[in-house]
């Protein structure tokens, strides 16, 4: 269980990215964090594993206070939190296998990792994870030879090889096309359920968040403005989070699951036909 209490972050530039956020994520819960750009979503999950040092507040994972850890203790704690990135953050020039195995860096010593002699159990786990995410046989491909969706699968495998109890997921679909986005989100949800993992997923696509998350937290200017189930996202709530806009096209019934043959148009794009006359008038 992850407990965030009064977390605040002020950057040296004076920007207050977080203003006292408190949250509790129980074991196995998939939570989506939505909000406009600059709301502090990215800062929030980076404060959890202290890639960004919080200015105030406490974060504890399964009872251990993460904000007070020494460097060594922090490294140990980071092993229990897998992170998945927007731009995948794979080591581009290394092979898929080396990328996945880099998830074990917190467990193995420097020389073993330098010589790429990881314990046999780790390698076996990596093989089965690659199979699970649908990349069996890709071990020796270089990461920069993969497509976006494949890279994100490698990123997921790397995070899971850490054997985490919590996943921190930062905009996993922002660099992907709509169909791949759904596949990745579905994969994430399945894996979390299989392993009883909690996850915090930063996502700007509200429809995707509704589809795949059990709980949604809306962040605005560093403060929580909504915390509730996915189907509680009404037009009013979205207006509170993002500001005034016509939200009727965005909100979807929460029980609708994205399926493989979903339309290629992202659901939040208005399906209004293009006004050719107006366009012509502009030219």
């Amino acid at each position: 269980m992850l407990v965030i209490d009064g977390l605040a972050k002020q950057y040296p530039t004076g920007d207050r990215a977080l203003k006292g956020v408190s949250l509790t994520v129980p074991k196995g819960q998939i939570m989506a964090l939505i909000g406009p750009s600059g709301a502090g979503k990215s800062t929030l999950i980076r404060c959890v594993n202290r890639l960004v040092e919080p200015t105030a507040g406490r974060v504890s994972l399964d009872g251990q206070d993460l904000t007070r850890l020494s460097r060594r203790g922090l490294r140990r704690a980071r092993r229990r939190m897998g992170m998945i990135f927007q731009e995948f953050a794979l080591i581009e020039r290394l092979t898929v296998m080396e990328n996945v195995l880099s998830g074990r860096l917190g467990y193995v010593g420097f020389w073993r990792s330098w010589l790429r002699r990881f314990p046999a159990a780790d390698v076996a786990a990596a093989f089965s994870l690659l199979e699970r995410v649908g990349l069996a046989g890709f071990e020796d491909k270089r990461a920069d030879a993969l497509s976006g969706g494949q890279r994100q699968r490698v990123g997921i495998a790397r995070a899971l090889l850490q054997n985490p109890s919590l996943l921190l997921v930062d905009e996993p679909t922002a660099s992907l096309d709509p169909k791949t986005s759904r596949q990745i989100m579905r994969l994430l949800r399945e894996l979390c359920r299989e392993r009883g993992l909690a996850a915090i997923i930063n996502i700007h696509d509200v429809a995707l968040a509704q589809m795949f998350a059990e709980r949604i937290v809306g962040l605005k200017l560093g403060e929580i403005v909504y915390d509730g189930p996915a189907d509680g996202l009404t037009a009013d709530v979205l207006t509170t989070i993002y500001g005034e806009e016509d939200w009727s096209q965005t909100i979807r019934p929460a029980d609708e699951d994205g399926d493989e043959d979903a339309p290629a148009i992202p659901p939040h794009e208005p399906a209004v036909p293009i006004d050719r006359e107006r366009l012509a008038g502009l030219t």
């Binding site: 296998m97 080396e98 790429r116 046999a120 390698v123 076996a124 990596a126 071990e139 020796d140």
Partner: protein
């Protein structure tokens, strides 16, 4: 293949055994070359002197400080000469380097078979030979003095400017060239309208960059008699007047820093 199946379980290795072996062999060979090279140097070194180096260094330092500041008065003229060597040398190099670049670039050369190889050889010859060696040659041919220095700088810089400019020419955007060609323009017009504007910033940057390098190089040309502040350095060192030499070192340091600052400012203004 890094992935192999041994006794039913998959085994992953970073590289296949053969590749790994070849890599180790490569490292071994490289190490051997370095060790052998070191042996040659070691044989030709008087280790007695090397062991004595810290004494020599301390002695040298003791003789260099305090610098004889009054010597500064006699350095203004050489400093002016140094500036001229660098600047005039760069200008001459631009005059000859720019046409050379157009002859060497694949997309502007009049003939790929005849002209281009010659232009490329001129560029490589000019670049391979350090300006000090050009100076050595020119001093021997036309006698010591500022002129030899200017020409030495020019000879070395022609290749530098030519190479960087022809590479910039070969990397330009072809669509603009096509667009101008489509208007029915002649070849010189295509070069003037579509190519020159595209390489202009690169050209300005290259010239200023080379001028900055030339200031550095012209400070030492005097060591072989080609004018500038290096002449004074040569004189001071041969008379073992290290307190004068240390003044010259400081002057060179300041000159180099100033030219670096100036060229950075100019490049910033251009780009």
């Amino acid at each position: 293949m890094p992935v192999a199946t041994v006794a039913g379980t998959k085994v992953w290795q970073r590289r296949a055994r053969g590749t790994q072996f070849a890599i180790w062999l490569g490292w071994l060979a490289a190490t051997l070359v370095v060790v052998l090279s070191w042996n040659v140097i070691s044989e030709r070194t008087m280790w007695m002197f090397v062991e004595d180096a810290h004494v020599q260094a301390a002695d040298l330092l003791g003789r260099m400080v305090p610098p004889r500041w009054s010597y500064m008065d006699r350095l203004w003229q050489p400093l002016w000469d140094t500036l001229n060597i660098a600047t005039l040398g760069t200008l001459i190099a631009i005059v000859f380097g720019v046409p050379l670049a157009f002859l060497a670039a694949r997309n502007t050369t009049p003939s790929r078979l005849l002209v281009r190889p010659v232009a490329l050889f001129v560029i490589v010859a000019s670049r391979s030979i350090n300006s000090l060696i050009w100076a050595l040659l020119l001093v021997s041919i036309i006698g010591p003095g500022v002129l030899a220095g200017i020409l030495a700088i020019a000879f070395r810089s022609v290749g530098f400017i030519g190479k960087l400019l022809y590479e910039a020419l070969e990397e330009i955007d072809d669509s603009a060239v096509e667009a101008i060609q489509a208007t029915g323009a002649s070849r010189p017009q295509v070069i003037g309208y579509a190519m020159v504007p595209q390489v202009m910033p690169a050209f300005a940057g290259i010239s200023v960059f080379r001028w900055d390098i030339n200031i550095r190089e012209s400070t030492v040309l005097g060591l072989v008699g080609a004018g500038g502040i290096g002449l004074q350095l040569e004189a001071s060192i041969s008379q073992l007047a290290w307190r004068e030499a240390s003044v010259i070192f400081l002057v060179i340091l300041v000159a180099v820093l100033a030219s670096e600052w100036l060229s950075a400012r100019i490049r910033h203004a251009i780009i």
